[in-house]
């Protein structure tokens, strides 16, 4: 039997960790942007919340770009 257990373990850990990171970024970003909307509707300032939200969404976007980089063989 010639099973690459190390590769299997790495794939499992990386898959789980990266999908968790992506969902945390996406869900938190959406939550902050929504909270900012609610705040500004109530008349209070929300500049920090909204910018932090967009930073998190931007990081999620960067992960998508990294995915494209991984897929396209010409890049590496």
């Amino acid at each position: 039997m010639n099973i690459d257990w190390a590769a299997l373990g790495i794939v499992a850990v990386v898959s789980i960790v990266s999908s968790v990171i992506f969902t945390i970024l996406l869900a938190s970003g959406i939550r902050l942007v929504s909270a900012a909307k609610i705040k500004s509707n109530q008349g209070s300032s929300s500049a920090t919340t909204v910018s932090l939200g967009y930073v998190l969404l931007g990081l999620a976007g960067l992960l998508v770009l990294f995915g494209i980089y991984l897929i396209i063989p010409q890049f590496h």
Binding site: M1, N2, A7, V11, F22, V33
Partner: protein
């Protein structure tokens, strides 16, 4: 002359396989976004088709072997490739008819293995490779993707628990559309290569191309177009099972399962432990159902899928083995095999028409029916095909009422 005929035949059949590969795997990327409404069905398949075509054209580094280590590469001859392709096509069509997602790579390997067994005997196949490359990944893929999806789904619901869904849905839909696009692109780069590899091998075997050279430009374009067209045609029966059959997918859940699918596919491609895209996406949809409180997972559907996965390799091998008996008999055998393939495709297509699933009704039901006897047609209450005039009349009546009220 006869050799040229056989070569052209095999190239044509390889492109047909590529087409079935496309529509079989269209659902892997797009079933989730279609089910949640993140992308409209037509838009989703057009997007997936273009990304598959682009992916196929990007992947010029084609695997030099198609044996996958299952048997000695030197055993591969043109008739064996033809029989293997026929086995894979028929298996793909049968599972599509039943609406079951199954791995197209396993079907192709199974087909080639069956044809090799008929040609060179059972001992020529390396049994342990089947365990390490087929059985183990078929268990690992849904497990890993499933665990990732369970955790991602729990987190998504926990984080956005107090956020009004009117604010979250469009964000999650964007997330889902982007991750699904990555899956489609990755699919083009990996599966587009398979057909290019097969065609290139046939051309080399027929001395029409120098050994050790890459695929010709027209092979790349033809394979890309075949897989793109297949993806565009949608494979709606499989789309329904994956998007609706396993579990009802809510928008946040769809974003989580999309993330899990993409992460697992990219990780497996990058770290060299090959996992089937089909098994991974099924696993994450299943996991996202387990992770969401109150979601009803249809385990009977999941069980049927698992059986289909385990049967894919032997099933395709059996069909290909029978096909190999014919493809070995010279030009007449090849012609007979082609005719049988045509008849089989036609029969399966006609059977599929009895309970048609299309882009218009893909999300209307969770069941894919084959025979009328399986269930009464009333299981499609919203099916626009069941030309019952009632809903239309109701709409007209409403309009009339609205007018009179105005």
């Amino acid at each position: 002359m006869t050799e040229l005929f056989v070569v052209i035949t095999v190239i044509a059949v390889a492109l047909v396989f590529d087409y079935t590969n496309g529509f079989h795997d269209s659902a892997n990327a797009m079933a989730g976004p279609i089910a949640t409404g993140a992308l409209r069905p037509r838009t989703a398949v057009i997007l997936a088709a273009i990304l598959n075509l682009v992916g196929a054209c990007l992947a010029t580094e084609v695997a030099k072997t198609i044996s996958g280590g299952f048997f000695d590469e030197t055993l591969i001859t043109v008739p064996i490739i033809l029989a293997g392709l026929v086995g894979a096509i028929i298996w793909n069509l049968m599972t599509w008819l039943l609406g079951l997602p199954s791995s197209s790579s396993h079907a192709l390997f199974g087909g080639l293995i069956g044809a090799v067994i008929v040609g060179a005997g059972l001992t020529s196949v390396h049994g342990w490779v089947i365990v390490s490359k087929v059985l183990l990944p078929a268990i690992v893929a849904p497990l890993v993707a499933g665990i990732a999806a369970v955790m991602a789904t729990r987190l998504v619901y926990r984080i956005s628990r107090r956020t009004p869904s009117a604010h979250t849905n469009s964000g999650y839909k964007y997330g889902q559309a982007f991750t699904a696009s990555l899956v489609a692109l990755a699919h083009g780069t990996s599966d587009g290569q398979k057909t290019m590899g097969v065609i290139t091998l046939v051309l080399i075997a027929a001395n029409l191309q120098e050994a050790g050279t890459g695929p010709q430009w027209w092979v790349i374009i033809a394979a890309g177009i075949a897989i793109g067209l297949g993806t565009y045609s949608g494979g709606w029966r499989i789309m329904r099972t994956m998007g609706k059959g396993i579990v009802e997918i809510e928008t946040p859940q769809g974003a989580a399962s999309g993330a899990a699918t993409t992460a697992t596919i990219l990780a497996s491609a990058h770290f060299g432990f090959g996992l089937s895209t089909t098994h991974v996406s099924t696993g994450s949809i299943l996991g996202s159902g387990v992770g969401r409180e109150g979601a009803e997972v249809r385990w009977s559907v999941a069980r049927r899928m698992l059986f289909a996965w385990l049967l894919t390799l032997p099933g395709a091998a059996l069909v290909a083995g029978l096909a190999a008996l014919l493809s070995d008999q010279g030009v007449l055998g090849v012609i007979a095999l082609l005719m049988l393939l045509g008849v089989a495709c036609l029969v399966i297509y006609l059977l599929s028409r009895r309970h048609r699933v299309s882009h218009a009704n893909v999300t209307d039901s969770h069941e894919v029916l084959v025979l009328a006897a399986a269930a009464p047609p009333t299981t499609y209450p919203n099916d626009p095909r069941l030309d019952s005039p009632k809903p239309k009349k109701a709409k007209k009546a409403k309009k009339a009422k609205a007018k009179s009220a105005a």
